[in-house]
């Protein structure tokens, strides 16, 4: 703790992270007449990842028109500010304490903020090269899509001229669009899995751009000492293949940006990498909420925007004395194919509402029945044919009808 503290600043709701979910939530809280709402943003400008996605499509659901990322971020920012949200930029939250006390670091000094409710909206980032255990040298020219976007769109800096894109998710396609902005010409897309992770209808787009797609490219290695010189991998035929290149975009495999969480008193779910929450979005300390992509990797901005709005409504009800209750039971991902289920706990509350759906992430493709059971009793069962990195939602049970249950299990029945 900081010494010599005198008086803590207070507010109704403090929001950690001014991305799409955080700004949408803050604005909605003000629409619901919550008094002092502060967004704490560590970057020099709020807006989050859309700030550096200088391409379409954003904003259809929210603003009824097609926007590029930076315009969308600006609208989210302006809407929040117009409604009286205080957006504090270049402000890093360095610690979360019980009772809603946050330690802040501004540009020039440190301080405390005490909030009636705190909402964590720190979003996601891509997995690094090390996290993906990509071997080889450590030359310059290896960046994530996020870093590429901010270099290109925010700074006008070109990290390389003809990179290889590692990964084949939607964001990997965004890397191609970003590259085009500074006349960077990707020479290949390389995917370790045997099929494209983004929907395969995207494949013609690659063909159109003249970018060859290498699937089943295992054990990638980066070559080069000072700068990237090549990417080496084992191809589908089991032979080593080498692509000459001057850069690598390590794209996708999003994970929650949970650094603050991990040093806090709040529980983390190893499945999502984000906080353990109940159906209201409350963390294991009910003063703390979480929403947006921090809950699970990774959804579209539109989805996060709506999550932010819905969470704001629950927080307003909570502050109004709704009394969500504190008794909760675990929701268990009871099959190795299931990577995570959000929420991870169900509050046995008299009050309805909440997320209304379980959001499920997979480790492997599933083509079977998926079932939710309260203890032994079947609550819901349905057919599921899906792959990892897809949006999968199933109806949530009504907790008020299952007040005797001790756990909920989500399982796959093949």
């Amino acid at each position: 703790m900081i010494e010599g503290e005198t008086q803590k600043e207070t507010c109704q709701v403090a929001i950690v992270g001014g991305g799409t979910a955080g700004l949408a939530l803050a604005a909605e809280l003000r629409r619901l007449s919550i008094g002092k709402v502060i967004v704490l943003e560590r970057e020099s400008q709020a807006g989050g990842i859309p700030r550096h996605c200088g391409h379409y499509p954003f904003g259809i659901r929210e603003y009824g028109r097609l926007l590029k990322g930076p315009d969308y971020a600006r609208r989210n920012r302006e809407t929040a500010e117009r409604l009286g949200v205080e957006v504090r930029t270049q402000t890093t939250v360095t610690a979360l304490h019980p009772d809603g006390v946050l330690e802040l670091l501004g540009r020039h000094e440190r301080s405390f903020l005490q909030a009636d409710r705190v909402v964590l909206c720190t979003g996601v980032r891509e997995s690094s090269r090390a996290q993906r255990l990509i071997g080889g040298g450590r030359p310059q020219g290896i960046v994530s899509t996020g870093a590429l976007q901010s270099m290109v769109y925010l700074k006008g800096i070109k990290p390389f001229a003809r990179p290889v894109i590692l990964g084949s998710e939607l964001v990997s396609l965004s890397a191609i669009k970003t590259a085009a902005h500074l006349n960077i010409k990707p020479v290949a897309m390389v995917e370790e899995k045997d099929r494209m992770i983004a929907r395969s209808i995207m494949q013609p787009y690659l063909a159109l751009k003249g970018i060859p797609l290498h699937l089943s490219a295992t054990n990638p290695r980066i070559l080069g000492r000072d700068r990237v010189e090549a990417l080496e991998f084992t191809n589908r035929q089991g032979q080593r293949d080498v692509i000459e290149t001057d850069g690598i975009v390590v794209s996708g495999r999003f994970r929650p940006e949970a650094a603050l969480l991990k040093t806090s008193h709040l529980a983390v779910d190893p499945g999502t990498g984000g906080p353990v929450v109940d159906q209201f979005g409350r963390c294991t300390d009910p003063i703390y909420y979480a929403t947006g992509n921090l809950l699970r990797p990774a959804e579209t901005s539109g989805f996060c925007w709506r999550e932010g709005i819905e969470t704001a409504r629950r927080i307003a009800a909570d502050l109004d004395g709704a009394g969500f209750g504190s008794q909760s039971i675990p929701v268990i991902a009871a099959d190795p194919a299931i990577k995570f289920v959000v929420p991870q706990r169900l509050c046995l509350s008299e009050i309805g509402g909440g997320m209304g759906r379980f959001y499920i992430g997979l480790n492997e493709p599933v083509n079977a029945s998926i079932a939710a059971r309260a203890d032994q009793g079947l609550i819901w069962k349905g057919r599921l044919s899906a792959r990892p990195v897809r949006r999968i939602q199933i109806p949530m049970i009504d907790p008020s009808k299952n007040r005797q249950a001790s756990e909920i299990r989500i399982s796959v029945e093949r």
């Binding site: 270049q90 090390a130 020219g141 006349n183």
Partner: protein
């Protein structure tokens, strides 16, 4: 000639060269350091396990043991005044098999012979009480309370900074190509021109034998690089272990170490792989996965911890088991070779040893009376950091909480980095969880026009 003649030319600015530069500058010599890479610490010194060893398991009576003991003592002596990051964690050697268990008494006895008198046997229960997250497969062990976690980069930077602050000169991108020795001393032929020095000290590490051949036409040893790969776990893992967990050593390596780092992570490594290349410090997925598995076996809680980084270092192994430090008095040339993985602990001791060799040979020193003590940025998660002081001008690297002020100070300081790697070593920027996802663009802008290898590339 007097004005551009140096007393001592040190070839190589790894940790040994930096310590050497400091020692001879403090002894009053006019020192020149020649480094062929674009930045200091670019060879063997750029990657290691970041431990200050007592030398408890060095061969008793060896030069290595003597240098580690002297280096260890001096490190502790100067740590405060040079703001060296240091954390007394202590170490435990852990036996996982019956064979290893049987080897412990002789290792403890060896430690005692090496003057590490507080090495003491520990029972299984005592170990598990002190390190409750270790796997209960362990059979026994012993402790070496005097082992410390340090930062290999800021230590070496602090040495060279003190040398520079007291008049030494450093030339980077300066490779020694050859030279002639005459009555006036050495005329060195380098990639940046001819340079004149009375005495040459070869601290070229992985290229030690190459420099020997270029200057004296014969080599004292042959370097066989030995690669060591490491994985670094997320800071959350540091709650799992307090001591440095050492294995029972074998002939080729100290084995796999599990320990915290001074930056609050947990490190597992190294592997030991002999190879031809003196530059290839690449990692291999298979080896990294294996290290991870071995780490989890010893410390099961690592299973749920993310990996933050993976790297490899090269140690300049030779055909000899001991350090090879030879003074060719007829040619005013000292070859400092075979400084293996213990070089970080021993560097200050090696420098003292070489100073003593020269003194014996009649070299006269006039030590500086009041040497300047430059203050360096103490990069440690266990000490106050710059961001905790007012006026940091905002955070640039969010994962490691590196301030704009810290980065500006390094970029405008006495030894600005030549490469992004150098900037990372001086500030820790991009070294955290996200590995540059958030701050690479900002760093690219801040360093524009300031690095020898820019982060951005030109349009042609």
């Amino acid at each position: 000639m007097q004005t551009d003649q140096y007393d001592i030319a040190i070839v190589g600015a790894g940790v040994v060269g930096c310590a050497m530069a400091r020692r001879f500058t403090l002894e009053g010599a006019r020192v020149l350091v020649l480094e062929k890479a674009l930045d200091v610490l670019d060879g063997a010194s750029k990657a290691n396990s970041a431990i200050l060893h007592t030398g408890f398991d060095a061969p008793p009576g060896s030069l290595e043991q003597a240098c580690i003991a002297a280096g260890y003592a001096e490190y502790l002596e100067v740590a405060e005044s040079l703001s060296l990051p240091i954390l007394k964690s202590g170490a435990m050697v852990i036996a996982w098999t019956e064979d290893q268990l049987r080897a412990l008494p002789s290792l403890i006895e060896k430690a005692h012979r090496n003057g590490v008198l507080d090495a003491r046997a520990l029972g299984r229960e005592e170990i598990l009480n002190r390190e409750p997250h270790l796997s209960d497969d362990l059979l026994g062990g012993f402790e070496i309370p005097g082992e410390y976690l340090i930062d290999p980069w800021s230590s070496a930077h602090a040495y060279i900074f003190q040398a520079l602050a007291n008049g030494a000169e450093l030339m980077r991108g300066a490779e020694v190509l050859g030279g002639t020795f005459g009555p006036d001393g050495w005329m060195l032929n380098t990639s940046v021109g001819k340079l004149h020095a009375r005495q040459v000290i070869n601290c070229a590490g992985l290229y030690g034998d190459v420099v020997d051949e270029r200057l004296v036409g014969a080599k004292d040893l042959t370097v066989t690089p030995r690669k060591g790969q490491f994985v670094v776990f997320d800071k959350a893992a540091s709650k799992l272990v307090s001591s440095i967990i050492l294995p029972v050593p074998t002939k080729t390596t100290k084995g796999i170490v599990v320990c915290r780092t001074i930056f609050g992570n947990v490190l597992v490594g190294p592997t030991a792989e002999d190879q031809e290349s003196r530059t290839d410090s690449s990692t291999e997925r298979e080896k990294l996965v294996d290290l991870r598995t071995k780490g989890v076996k010893m410390l099961p809680g690592l299973e749920l911890c993310e990996i933050t980084a993976a790297y490899a270092g090269l140690r300049p192994a030779t055909e000899f088991s001991d350090y090879q430090i030879h003074h060719h008095t007829d040619k005013a040339y000292v070859s400092v070779g075979g400084i293996r993985s213990t070089g970080l602990s021993a560097a200050l001791g090696i420098a003292r040893h070489v100073a003593a060799l020269l003194q014996q040979a009649g070299y006269r020193f006039t030590p500086l009376k009041l040497p300047a003590l430059p203050q360096t940025d103490r990069l440690s998660d266990y000490h106050p950091r710059d961001w905790q002081q007012p006026g940091g001008d905002g955070i640039v690297c969010h994962c490691e909480l590196v301030t704009r002020r810290e980065i500006e100070q390094v970029l405008n300081g006495p030894m600005p980095p030549g490469t992004l790697q150098g900037l990372k070593r001086r500030t820790r920027a991009t070294m955290g969880r996200c590995q540059g996802f958030y701050c690479t663009a900002e760093l690219a802008e801040m360093t524009r026009g300031k690095l020898k290898i820019p982060i951005g590339c030109s349009d042609d």
